[in-house]
Structures are given as structure tokens and as C-alpha cells.
Amino acid sequence: MAGYEGTIAALSTPEGIGGIAVVRVSGPDAMNIIKPCVSRIPPEPLRATFTSFIHPKDKHFIDDVVVTYFKSPRSYTGEDLVEISCHGGRIISGLILEVLYACGARPALPGEFSRRAFINGKMDLTQAEAVADMIHAETEKSLKAARVLLQGRLSQELEEIRHLLLDAASLLEIGLDFSDQDIETIEPEDIRDRVERGLIHINDLMTSYQTGRILHNGARIPIVGKPNAGKSSLLNAILKEERVITSDIPGTTRDYIEERINHSGYLLRLYDTAGLRDTRDFIELAGLEKTKKLMKDADLMLMITEFPDEVPYIAGFLETQEIPAIIVLNKIDRLPEEDIRRARSYTKTDLPVMAVSAQKDIHITALMDRILDLLKDHYILNTETVMISHLRHQNHLKVAQKALLSARHALDEGMSPEFVAMDIREAMSALDDITGKTTSPDVLNHIFNRFCIGK
């Protein structure tokens, strides 16, 4: 168990300036480590105790703190846990942690509190992942999605699918293990229907992966265009209007610049592909490795040009792509009204052309709203429905989907129930892998409850 044992401590409020910081200590020795460091020991669990935090060796005063003891198993991690609320700021919490480490605690690894909560049965795997998401949620929308997941909605949804499959499995096994019994005939349609419904559920969840990923990780939006079309100025114009979350430091090794912004609660990741090899041609540009990768992973593309006559050409190229896109006609402050109208008329409605001036800040807000509308339309960014945001979930769902497709195929081929049953069992076990629970496929139990067995 090397690496995961012992008592851990870490700052559990965000680093930086704030009124109060909370340091958590979790593990079998939590109380023993705290005892020499405080002037008053909490008399009982769950009682917030005001005390001084002192250095156990030189009795040097560090801070006035409130200490609360959560006794195992009634704590967040399921272990003995002590919360120390101290004054905010990096320095005091840093001093306290230093003392705790000196007294036998060790720094917690990333996510280790949640990991312990999961291992001690305090939450299932999807809930644990949701906690991790919540901590990493960069905008309120993804926070909301994380909360839905945490409430066990995904687990519920999976349970529904599982139930359909258990039903199907029982109907199959009835025909195998009880074929010598007097039981009403099972129609293959009854089984097919359940497999079909299971597949629909799974497909919905898999589709929600994109939605979940966009909400959680942000929508990836590369700005693609020829040199001097105004890629960087567009990005700068957007950054001026929006709340910037992170900004790339120039000179990093990447060949593009990524900016994360919060637009109406949605996380958008804009990529400036500037610095790419100079080329005269959009298609050739799209063929460049770095751009190709960005475009392949894009959730929405911004194609920027300053020439109205290029619009139909770009539109033609975009029609071969499956990703939503906006053609941005830049530098309209220098273009006659007529040219702009002409450019707009080149394309169909589902491929918007937005006329802006990055330099002069014209129509940038409208462009941003349009980006969001397109994303919402295309990815159904509804935070209230269950969605998955983890690649791990998506992979398990893929396994389940494959197994169910195989089951459906076997049913269509008129294969004997034991083959279909094998596929369904595989699908059920893939779903269990998501929640990390083994729910043994108690098919027989299900059968006994539903059918009159025993001749």
C-alpha cells in the first residue's frame, strides 16, 4: 500500500487571500498529531473548539484557530478527521501545515481526500469524480453539471439501464435454465425491446459526453485564417471584453496560443493559430499538422478573412466539415457596406457570416453571443440533464454499447439465448465499471420473483 497510507494534511480552501483558510488532517493519527499543537483539545466530536495553535516544540504561538474533530466513520473521508480554521492567507496556513508535517502528517496527494472517501465507502466512483470536478470546475456551469453528477443522477441513470438489461437477461435465462418448466412463452421481441431501450439510453449518455466535456473542460474554438487576417487582433478584442481565466505566456513551446474565458458562465477556449507557416490558401492551411489537430478537436471553428470574395470559398470548405463554424469577416471598418452584404449573401443561414472589426471593436459582443448560441444549439448545453464528462465513463459506455449491438445482432440472427445472454452480461459489467460497484447479476433472483418456477 506504499504511497497511500498514513495521515494526510492539506489546505482545503483555495490558496491566496481570503478571510479564513481551512486545513484538513485525515487519517488514524489525526488527533494524536493535533493534540500537542493546540492549547485546548476538542472535548468531543463535532464540537467547534476555539484554541491557540502553537508549535509543539518551542510553544511558539502561531494563530487563533477553531478546531473541529470528526470521528471515524462520520467524516468526509470516513477516517478520523480534524479541520483547523485559521486566518486566511498563505503564510499562516503554510506555517500550520509545516508544523503538522513535522508532527507526522504528510502532504496529501491530489484528490487524496476524495480517494479515501471513496475507498471507505463514503461515495461511489461517479460521486468521487464529481467532487474532483467541483474542485476543478472553472465556471459556474460546469459546477452545476458536477453537482448533478454528485447527486447520483448518473448512477440513477445507469441503474435504469441496468434494470432493463437484468430484465432481458432473466427472460433469456428462463428459456435456458427453466426450459423444462411450464412458463409462458417469452417472445424474442420482449428481449429485443429491452436491448433496444438500453441502447438508446447508452447512446444518449454517450452523446452527452461531448456536452459534458464542453461544460467541464470548455469548448475548443480555434481561430483559423491566413496571415494578417486579424487572428491575434480578434483574440485580443475578445479578451478585452471577457473575463479571462488564463492567458498563455508568450514563448511557450506550443505553436499556438490558448486563452480561456468565461462567457455567460460557459468556459470557452480560444486558440490563436498565429505563428503557423505563411500560406496563401485556406485548404493548405487546414492541411498543416498543428492546425489539423486543432481543427479535428474543435467544438466550433472561427474562420477569419478580410476579403468578402473569399467567403464562398471558405463556405465551400466548411460544408465538408461536421463541426459548427462561423465565418468572421474582419476589418469591416474599411469595407463598403455593399461588399459586406454581398459576402453575407454567399452562404446559407446555417453557416453564419459575422462582420466585425477587431481593431475597432465592432460587433465583437454580437460575435460572442453568436458563438454561444451555436454551441448551445449544437451541443444541447443543458446543465440539468445527466451528462458524462469523463473519458473513462465514455470508454465503459463504448464497451457496453458494443456488447448490446452484438446482442441485437445475435437476436436478429436468431441465435440461441446463451449467446445473447453473454453479450448482455458483458454490457452490465461495463456499466458496473462506471460506478465501481459490483452488482452481481442476480438473474436467478429476478426470475424467481417474477416467474412461477417449479414443476
Partner: protein, 615 residues
């Protein structure tokens, strides 16, 4: 300690109980040249079928075939004495085909008794086992009720339903092991005192009626297969009888009579405490739980050829005698039925099997083995395989050899024993094909191919049969090779692909070359090989994709299956285990991580933690 008064000779293996587990255990031990004693209440009751007159059936037929490949007796016995043979699930895939036979109860028991009497090293001792003799944490023998002491190095308990057996018929309760036979009292109390957990189970049996009182013209006859397959690989020239059973139905009137008397059923008065099998419920259970079902099937089965006693399959009941008789007489064909015996429920003691190792030896007392209903199973077949395995492992232990333990991917026997030990059953355990994860590999038709290496290692199966099995596997491999490389010519007399030449394996997978073509292929292409080898090659090619997937699953599971947990591992040192997981692990003391993972209440994270811990 007890004062040793008169010492009889010392045995290697003592088998207590002469039912289906005891018979196989005694034969296996004696055939392994161990001096063996079979303690039974009476010679005449050996291998008695106390319930239905049949052997095999869904999944149970698989067990019999496996036992036969390993050298057990049950398959041969039923082939010699059966009166109707049928392959169940013939319309389904080959993996779930299961052989079943109607037995001639008398001849079956006589066959077994004769076999026992003719087996060297085997001594039958009539008497009732009363108390085990222990020395330290080992078993040393058994005291009989009449005061005799029998010493032995290993003891296999196969007491069936006799441990504190209690029969219920309506309000009447009779202490009995079977109808008209005394129970065995004391043994389970002693085991309890030794620290074993003892629990109660319940099972039941239907009434028996006379042949002359049945109006068969009102029922439909049910025959076996016209060209039946034997159970045993050793059986040749198989031409058994085909004596029918008869099918009839209960109806509303029958149900009404029983419903009105439910308050007199011990199931509902609370007199019965044990849990009964849900797959074999009593008739009153059926009408209560499925009250909207207007009728239930009943099969009338002869108990032996020309039997005066007929078994009413489907009418197991513990209602008072008058109600059973009155209700049964409403059934078409049974209007004038005369009764020989009423149906009854029986409660008995069993020892939850988490107290055993996979060798069927108890975890706490060395040399003491349990097999059969004492482990909470039901069924002759389930009992037989356990008896055989317990004896094999007892003998191996005496010789200082490792036990033979089948994995879940090797044999139904492995599934059965692993289920017993890792899963808590609160109803009698019965074999089902759905309990086997690797069902497509564990077929009833390939037990010889699957198990010959184990059979050879065990050493009971004749060397001649082992060679026969081996050559069949070789033949199968060659035929598969041929099918995968050779093409069926356009002008083949089989006319399988008249338009173009196509490879045999493709024809099989496209369902063009089918089961019914095999005998023609046999005659034209491989007249010199066993038909069985061709059949196996055919099945393996037909289901290749699925079989391959199952084999991959087996490989995936092997990591955990092979990860041993030290015998006295202290789970308290692994702090991060869930409480439920820790409690279960301490109780079940699994031998491998694979077993641990199958225990209910142990989560995958517990397993991950242990895996990290044990690495």
C-alpha cells in the same frame, strides 16, 4: 478424552452416509487404494433416491458428464438402469444441451450397492455415526451410536437431510431423515460445540400414488428421445427402454381446496423455520405467490419399471394429509387416486460452506470433509460431485499432494464449489447454467476434452479411457486444421456450395454446413476418427468468436484468481478496507483474490486495495 475401549481396525478414509455423495466418496477413495469405510444406517438404503426418480437435467446433466470423465460412477449407473433418456434444450445452442434420464430407483440403488460390494478396499459398516473423534485440530474417527469406534485419518460427512431432520405434514412433526427413517442427532450439536456455524434449510417431496389408481387416458404421455445419448463415455451399445411419464394439470378447484386450508400449512403457521428452494417450491407456495395462474403442470413418473408407486412431480406439499389427498383427486386422471405416501416438508441442519476450503476440507479441523446436502446443496448430482471431490482431496492430502481444485472456467464442479464457499446461500443450492460465467466453454459434450488432464492426475479413470480422450482431442485438432485450410469442392456430393468452392470453416460459420451434415462428412472424409472428435471440431468452429471472447475473459480474470491471500492474513492491518468488506473477508477467509471478489459485500475497491497490499 474418551476412554478407548475396543479399537477396530484403522481406516484411511471414513465416509459417513450412503447417499449419492457418500457412494461416490467411498468408491473414489477405495479406487485410489485407500482403506475405506462407508458408515450407513443400512446397506439396503445405500444410493436411495429419496425424491424424484431422475438423474441429470439442466446443468445437472453437465455435472454428471464431468463426474463421468473424472471416473465417477453416477453416469455409468444411470446408463445401466435408466428407463427413459432425453437431451434437454435440444432446440438451443450446444452449450446448454443437458442430458436427463428417468431412473429405475430400485435398480439404480442395487447397481450402486453391488458396485460398492465388489470394490476392493471398501468396507461397509452398518451403524449410525454419533460423535466425531478429534485429536487437537484433527479428526481421528467416529463413534457409532452402539458404542463402536472407528478410527480413520480422514472423515467425510455426507449426512444429507439426516442431521436433526424434522418432517412436517400439516401440524404433524416427525423427527426423521427420510420418510420412515430415523434422523441423526448429536453430530451437529457436537459440530456446533466445536465452533461450527450450523443453520437450517428446508426441502420437500410430493406424494406418491398407486399405478392402478391412475387414469392415464386423461393425461398425455411424455417419452424420451428415440435415439438417446448415454451419460457415460464408457457406455457402448446403448439401447435403453423408453418408458413414458404422464403430464396433467391442477386447476381452480384444486387451488381452492388448498387455499382454504393454508392456515394448516406449517409454511404459514410459522412451524417451519428453514428456507425452501425457490426453484422447487411447494404447490401451496405456487398458488399463493402466483395466485392468478389458473393451473400448474404435474408430471406422473414411475419410480421404477413396472412400479406400483408413482411420483407426482410438481405436487410437493406440507399441507395436512387430508387436504393433499382431496386436492390431488381434483386433478384429471387422479380422481380415484390411492395414496402410498403423502408429500412432506423436511427441515435439516447444514453447515454454511464458507467454513470449508475449496478442497471441501473444513478450514478449522484437518482431515474433516463435508459433501452434499450438509453443505446446503440440493440434488443427487450436486451431492455426487462433492462426494467425489472430497474423497479425491482427502486421499491426496493423505499422500501429501496438493488438492484438485477446479476453477470456474474449467468445470461446473468448480463453479458449484466456488459458489458454495464464496456465496452465502439461504436456500438449498442447485446448479444452473446461468451460474457459469464461461458457459459456452463448459459444455456437457466436451467434459472429456476439458477434464482428461485432471482425470489423469486424479488417477481413478482407467488409463484406457484417458488415452481414448487424448486421441479424441488430437483428432479434433486435426479436423479443425483441415476445416480451416481445405475447401469443399463444388462437386462435393454434399452439395454444400454448388456455385463455388469454399472453405469448410466458412461453410460452418455461415450455417451452410450444419449439424445434420456431420454424419455424411464423417463417412466420406474421416471414417477412421471418432464421431465425437468431428462433432467437437464442428462446435468449436461454429462458436469460435464467442468461445474466443470467453477465453479472453478467463485470461483477464486469471490475475486475480492466481493471487493467493496468505492463510492467516490479518485484515485489520489494512486500514482502508471497507467495514463490510473487512467483516466478510474475516468470515470467509478467501484463498485467492478472485474468490474474495465474488463474496457479496466486497467492493472492487477492497480488491484493488488488497491487490496493492499483497503485491
Amino acid at each position: 478424552m474418551f476412554h478407548v475401549k475396543r479399537t477396530l481396525e484403522e481406516f484411511d478414509v471414513i465416509v459417513v452416509g450412503g447417499g449419492h455423495a457418500g457412494v461416490e466418496a467411498a468408491l473414489a477413495a477405495a479406487r485410489l487404494r485407500k482403506k475405506t469405510a462407508l458408515v450407513t444406517l443400512s446397506l439396503k438404503s445405500i444410493a436411495r433416491m429419496s425424491c424424484n426418480p431422475s438423474i441429470g437435467g439442466l446443468a445437472k446433466g453437465h455435472l454428471v458428464r464431468e463426474l463421468d470423465a473424472l471416473g465417477g460412477e453416477m453416469g455409468r449407473a444411470i446408463d445401466q438402469t435408466g428407463i427413459q433418456f432425453k437431451m434437454l434444450n435440444r432446440s438451443k445452442g450446444r452449450a446448454v444441451w443437458s442430458p436427463r434420464a428417468q431412473a429405475d430407483k430400485r435398480r439404480y440403488a442395487e447397481y450402486m450397492q453391488q458396485t460398492l460390494l465388489n470394490t476392493n478396499n471398501l468396507h461397509i459398516i452398518e451403524g449410525e455415526g454419533a460423535r466425531l473423534i478429534f485429536s487437537m485440530a484433527s479428526v481421528r474417527g467416529i463413534y457409532l451410536k452402539d458404542g463402536r469406534q472407528i478410527f480413520g485419518k480422514a472423515v467425510i460427512l455426507t449426512n444429507g437431510t439426516f442431521l436433526n431432520g424434522l418432517i412436517h405434514i400439516g401440524p404433524i412433526q416427525i423427527a426423521a431423515g427420510r420418510y420412515g427413517e430415523l434422523p441423526s442427532v448429536g453430530l451437529s450439536d457436537q459440530l456446533k460445540a466445536e465452533g461450527f456455524v450450523v443453520k437450517r434449510l428446508k426441502t420437500g417431496t410430493p406424494s406418491r400414488v398407486t399405478h392402478r389408481s391412475i387414469d392415464f387416458s386423461r393425461m398425455s404421455p411424455q417419452y424420451g428421445d428415440p435415439d438417446p445419448e448415454p451419460f457415460s463415455f464408457t457406455t457402448s451399445a446403448f439401447h435403453p427402454k423408453n418408458i413414458p411419464c404422464y403430464l396433467t394439470y391442477t386447476h381452480e378447484k384444486t387451488h381452492e381446496i388448498m387455499r382454504a386450508a393454508l392456515h394448516r400449512s406449517p409454511l404459514y403457521t410459522g412451524d417451519i423455520h428453514g428456507t425452501g428452494p425457490r426453484y422447487c417450491p411447494s404447490i401451496e407456495d405456487k398458488i399463493v405467490r402466483f395466485y392468478d395462474k389458473p393451473s400448474h403442470q404435474l408430471f406422473l413418473e414411475p419410480e421404477w419399471e413396472g412400479s406400483e408407486q408413482w411420483y407426482v412431480n410438481g405436487f410437493s406439499s406440507s399441507l395436512p394429509i387430508d387436504i393433499q389427498f382431496k386436492a390431488l383427486r381434483t386433478v384429471p386422471g387422479l380422481e380415484n387416486a390411492e395414496f402410498i405416501k403423502p408429500g412432506y416438508a423436511i427441515e435439516y441442519d447444514y453447515l454454511p460452506s464458507y467454513q470449508l476450503r475449496h478442497s471441501l476440507e473444513t478450514k478449522d479441523i484437518s482431515g474433516l470433509y463435508f459433501a452434499g446436502q450438509i453443505n446446503g446443496t440440493s440434488g443427487y448430482e450436486e451431492a455426487a460431485v462433492q462426494g467425489f471431490m472430497a474423497a479425491v482431496n482427502a486421499c491426496r492430502a493423505l499422500d501429501g499432494q496438493d488438492p484438485i481444485i477446479f476453477s470456474r472456467s474449467e468445470a461446473y464442479i468448480g463453479v458449484l464449489i466456488d459458489d458454495l464457499i464464496t456465496k452465502e446461500t439461504d436456500e438449498p443450492y442447485r446448479m444452473f447454467t446461468s451460474l457459469a460465467e464461461y458457459r459456452l466453454i463448459l459444455r456437457a459434450d466436451n467434459t472429456d476434452h476439458r477434464l482428461y488432464p485432471a482425470a489423469e492426475k486424479i488417477g481413478i479413470q482407467s488409463q484406457q479411457m484417458i488415452e481414448h480422450f487424448k486421441s479424441s482431442v488430437q483428432e479434433k485438432d486435426l479436423i479443425k486444421q483441415f476445416f480451416k485450410t481445405a475447401s469443399c469442392p463444388k462437386d462435393s456430393p454434399l452439395r454444400l456450395s454448388p456455385d463455388r468452392t469454399e472453405r469448410y470453416d466458412q461453410l460452418i460459420k455461415k450455417h451452410i454446413l450444419r449439424q445434420e451434415h456431420l454424419s455424411a462428412i464423417h463417412h466420406t472424409l474421416f471414417p477412421e476418427v471418432q464421431f465425437h472428435s468431428l462433432d467437437q471440431a464442428f462446435i468449436e468452429i461454429l462458436y469460435e468468436g464467442y468461445i474466443h471472447r470467453q477465453e479472453q475473459m478467463v485470461t483477464k480474470m486469471r490475475l486475480l484468481e492466481e493471487k493467493q491471500i496468505p492463510e492467516h492474513f490479518n485484515y485489520d492491518t489494512v486500514k482502508s478496507l471497507s467495514n463490510e468488506g473487512r467483516e466478510k473477508l474475516k468470515r470467509f477467509r478467501p484463498e485467492t483474490l478472485g474468490q474474495a471478489g465474488r463474496i457479496r459485500g466486497i467492493s472492487p475497491s477492497d480488491i484493488q486495495i488488497l491487490l496493492i497490499y499483497l503485491t
